[in-house]
């Protein structure tokens, strides 16, 4: 029975993979992820004053390696979700998928596994391999911090991916969702950069701290960066999270992401008319 159910799922997954990663898309992004990680990680140019590797070192190396490569990863996800799924909806290819003996939510799962899951596997695989080659002394003893940094940094792209998915499903047009996703990404980036000076300026009021906390829910890396930047320093009046506070932010961030995806699944199962 399980075999009979699994086969159509794999068929759709294979079709989605073929569509999302036409030659040489997968290879090109693997190349970009690999080169980007080495070029943007500032590990070599950092002068160390001690051989002891702290979690702060691991965070700095991982986040510097992530910076621009994360944007390349987002381009791949935007392409797969907005352009791939959007054009499938627009051209009516999804109706062909419905002829398979599968529930709608399984079809969406197969599409997402290809668009998001495989992209994420490629991204994390290449990044962690490159970081290991670059700084094994940092990655091995501080592997927990490296994973925490990835968890915090990926929450924000996944949130935008979820919003794009929802918009694509509602509008049934990939182009509009793609534009909206790019705009949303840059707007959130600008807000992240503006919110710290605003919070510092309004440090006497509660709103300054509140704005930072709200931002940390949507982008937990913001809280993690503040933790490593300011924790233990005196004279910092604006909110600095504790370690448990950062983990709570990451958890809350993923709950928000999961709820957006649940809404998308609900929409596909109950509301999407084809």
């Amino acid at each position: 029975m399980a075999n009979r159910k699994g086969r159509p799922f794999l068929e759709i997954f294979a079709l989605a993979l073929k569509e999302d990663f036409r030659f040489p898309t997968f290879e090109l992004f693997a190349f970009l992820f690999c080169v980007g990680t080495f070029v943007f990680a500032n590990f070599g140019s950092t002068m160390f004053y001690s051989t002891s590797v702290t979690s702060n070192t691991a965070y700095n190396v991982t986040s510097s390696a992530l910076s621009t490569v994360l944007f390349i990863f987002m381009i791949l996800v935007f392409k797969n979700i907005a352009y791939g799924l959007g054009s499938d909806l627009e051209k009516g290819i999804v109706q062909t998928y419905l002829s398979y003996p599968l529930k709608r939510r399984s079809i969406l799962s197969a599409k997402l596994l290809s668009a998001l899951g495989v992209s994420l596997m490629l991204f994390l695989g290449v990044q962690i391999l490159s970081l290991y080659i670059l700084a094994p002394d940092v990655v091995i003893p501080q592997f927990g911090t490296v994973l925490l940094t990835y968890a915090a940094s990926l929450c924000y792209p996944l949130l935008i991916a979820g919003i794009i998915l929802l918009v694509t499903l509602i509008l049934r047009r990939g182009g509009s969702a793609l534009v909206l996703g790019i705009v949303l990404y840059f707007v959130l980036e600008i807000i992240q950069n503006l919110i710290t000076p605003i919070a510092t300026a309004t440090q006497l009021s509660e709103s300054g701290t509140l704005s930072l906390q709200i931002m940390s829910l949507f982008s937990p890396n913001f809280a993690l960066a503040r933790y490593y930047q300011f924790y233990g320093q005196t004279g910092i009046h604006v909110w600095v999270p504790t370690a448990s506070g950062v983990i709570a932010c990451i958890g809350a961030g993923y709950v928000i992401v999961a709820s957006i995806f649940v809404v998308a699944y609900f929409y596909v199962s109950r509301r999407l008319s084809l």
Partner: protein
């Protein structure tokens, strides 16, 4: 075409892409990130030259540390030293205080820590700490050193002669690569052939399919 061949082929092309990326990364030249030098024989006071600088002197049978710090794998230290006598030069993968601590623990009573005998004994017992060693014979020496991990390094000179000697100049330059070049090149050399081997069944199947198509078209 069989799906396993397609999957293997795509894995192969991805491995080739990663291998090429690593090869490209290994070609990026290192950049200077820091420098330190003793003025090659010229001393400056308030920004003005005041003539020849005195040598950094070492008593007979003594050793001294020119520099100690921390170096990481993608970094390379370029060293130039000029001396007026015969001197042994070492890059040790420990801080110089480790040698003093060892001397203090091993020998009781009053100890002249700068005596070269203690350094030689330490090196005899701990040969693994020697990262590089060489000798200056009344002239200059230039070398570069790249560690294999994050490591404390000490640039040490030792005088085994009965005469006091001096170093007239030295220069240290730190260069940083985007990746550990030798490691990345080795991985690239392995990755590309492995990728090609994975791709071969896919290419074989592709050629067969094309031949079949041509045959069908002719008929």
């Amino acid at each position: 075409m069989k799906r396993w061949a397609i999957l293997l082929g795509r894995v192969g092309t991805t491995v080739i892409a990663i291998g090429l990326a690593l090869f490209l990364v290994s070609l990026i030249p290192p950049t200077a990130i820091n420098g330190l030098s003793y003025n090659w024989g010229v001393a400056y006071s308030n920004g003005f030259s005041t003539g020849l600088a005195p040598d950094i002197g070492y008593a007979s049978n003594a050793w001294g540390t020119l520099y100690w710090g921390v170096l990481t794998e993608p970094q390379t230290l370029h060293v130039n030293i000029a001396a007026n006598a015969s001197l042994n030069v070492y890059i040790l993968e420990v801080s110089s205080s480790t040698i003093d601590d060892w001397t203090n623990q091993t020998y009781s009573g009053s100890v002249d820590f700068s005596n070269v005998t203690y350094l030689d004994k330490f090196l005899d017992l701990h040969p693994s700490v020697i990262g590089w060693q060489g000798e200056i014979n009344n002239g200059t020496i230039a070398f570069e050193y790249t560690p294999m991990r994050i490591v404390n390094i000490s640039l040490i000179v030792s005088d085994h002669s009965l005469e006091p000697v001096g170093i007239s100049a030295y220069q240290l330059l730190w260069f940083s690569s985007v990746a550990p070049v030798s490691k990345v090149q080795t991985l690239s050399e392995f990755a590309v052939p492995i990728g090609v081997a994975f791709t071969l069944p896919y290419l074989g199947n592709l050629l067969k399919t094309k031949k079949k198509r041509r045959g069908t078209a002719k008929q």
